[in-house]
């Protein structure tokens, strides 16, 4: 069975890597689009994001990508994967750019890592949190299939997510604070790291996403 994927495009940054990684792990047609009809026809929806939150939010709203996302989640009931700023945009509010209201689809906020940031031994940590860090799997999920706990994924962000409902936490990462690395709710899986840039671990997660029926 060939699984088609729509990657929601709101004009912020390079989405080719997501698309080519999905194709690499066996996706059928992958479209990068904000066309409601094309998204409605897709078997899977990816909500990516890079860049600053204010610009992302204004483009998401201008192109009505929030409605497309809501449609995918609650009407189409297809599996949805949010990545990086895509995850952050789902929350209530972000501290970035002097405070920006986000979509409020998941209760919780997006916080600055802090400056200076130190680890448990008082050693200084650089911000952005950039590089390969270990993700602690907080619960079983079909998207973790075949990925050992504490596998390293590639992160690049200065703000981190903290969901109010801790039962949504699917993975966490330690970097001075304990940050939410993955949230899961029904047919939505949202990650702070970049699976498309996380070598074989990331490709496994994307393959799991294609194989996932949206139940957990």
């Amino acid at each position: 069975m060939s699984v088609s994927v729509a990657v929601i495009d709101y004009g912020m940054g390079n989405l080719h890597s997501v698309a080519s990684a999905l194709q690499h792990v066996g996706a059928g047609e992958v479209v990068v689009t904000h066309d409601a009809e094309l998204i409605r026809q897709a078997d899977r929806v990816v909500f990516p994001g890079v860049g600053a939150i204010r610009d992302c939010m204004s483009e998401i709203r201008r192109l009505k990508c929030d409605e497309l996302l809501a449609q995918a989640l609650t009407e189409q009931h297809v599996p949805v994967l949010a990545i990086c700023v895509g995850l952050q945009a789902l929350m209530d509010r972000s501290e970035e750019n002097d405070g920006v209201d986000c979509l409020g689809m998941i209760p919780g906020d997006v916080r600055f890592f802090g400056n200076p940031l130190t680890d448990a031994n008082g050693q200084r940590l650089k911000v952005p949190h950039m590089g390969w860090n270990e993700v602690r799997q907080q619960r079983d999920h079909p998207l973790w299939a075949g990925i050992p706990d504490m596998t390293r994924f590639y992160f690049v962000h200065s703000y981190y997510v903290h969901a109010k409902d801790r039962s949504l936490l699917a993975g966490s990462v330690e970097y001075g604070v304990s940050a939410d690395a993955a949230l899961a709710r029904d047919n939505l899986f949202a990650v702070q790291f970049h699976p498309e840039k996380s070598a074989s671990a990331g490709l496994t997660l994307l393959k799991n996403f294609l194989n996932w029926n949206g139940q957990c």
Binding site: H16, P116, K126
Partner: protein
């Protein structure tokens, strides 16, 4: 003596660098003597398979029609390589940055253009996000009259002094929104004598953003020193990997033996 570094799990990165001239990987000694090391797409895929943490593509093509080749090569690499890709060399404008990001680069490295127009760093960080703006600094040691170590920025492959202090420049670039500093010692590049640890330490201590040490790697101990003594967050090397002396897994195993967190 090496000290055990606690990083709360974040791995120090190993970044093989491809210096590319007209679509071929080359590596010069002090930017002059150039040896052919092969096809960039093939080499980038090899490093991806070996477990490199990122790949850096440095375009040293002089001719303007060579730029098209570069974009095409970046597109091909991005299609086959699923680790972060930084592209540098000849990036002069917001449009150049957009072209490279659209071709599949995750980060773009700005060097000379930042010196001519520091606002480019601010503008592009605002537009594309700090996470994809790397400022490359080519530093050369120019001690003060009283013998205090000092490093200055040089352009044109290390031939042209700018009078700009390298440490102060790194701080300014971070303030303008750079997400990372790629620091190359022009005294060491291509020499295989190891990183210039003085400037590496001075800059890593001065900025909050990650610093990639570059220039001079000839042995695996040099990679270890870059992290433990230089304080670098990532180490970049070219020739030790291209010519098969060491593989990325060998380098990582060696760093791990010396107490450095790496992704194995």
């Amino acid at each position: 003596m090496t000290q055990r570094l606690s990083t709360m799990g974040l791995a120090k990165r190993i970044i093989p660098c491809l210096d590319v001239d007209n679509g071929r990987v080359v590596k010069g000694v002090n930017f002059v003597d150039i040896r052919d090391a092969g096809d960039p797409v093939e080499i980038a895929m090899r490093y991806n398979d070996q477990g490199a943490d990122e790949v850096c593509f440095l375009d040293i093509t002089a001719s303007s029609d060579g730029r098209e080749t570069t974009v095409h090569t970046v597109e091909q690499i991005a299609e086959h390589v699923f680790i972060p890709l930084t592209v540098g060399g000849g990036i002069r404008s917001v449009d150049d940055i957009r072209t490279m990001l659209n071709a599949g680069a995750d980060k773009v490295s700005i060097n000379t253009a930042a010196i001519h127009n520091p606002e480019l760093v601010r503008e592009s960080a605002l537009r594309f996000g700090s996470q994809c703006i790397v400022v490359a600094i080519d530093a050369k040691r120019v001690d003060d009259v009283d013998g205090q170590p000092r490093w200055e920025i040089f352009t044109h492959g290390g031939r042209k002094p700018t009078g700009i202090d390298a440490v102060a420049w790194a701080v300014r670039m971070a303030e303008l929104g750079a997400g990372e500093i790629l620091l190359t010692s022009m005294d060491r590049d291509g020499t295989r004598n190891g990183f210039e640890l003085g400037v590496t330490r001075a800059i890593t201590d001065a900025v909050e953003i990650p610093v990639i040490a570059s220039g001079g790697v000839g042995t695996l101990d040099h990679l270890v020193d870059g992290v433990t003594r230089g304080g670098a967050d990532a180490v970049l090397a070219a020739s030790i990997f291209h010519f098969g002396e060491f593989t990325v897994p060998q380098a990582k195993a060696y760093m791990a033996e010396h107490g450095i967190e790496v992704r194995l």
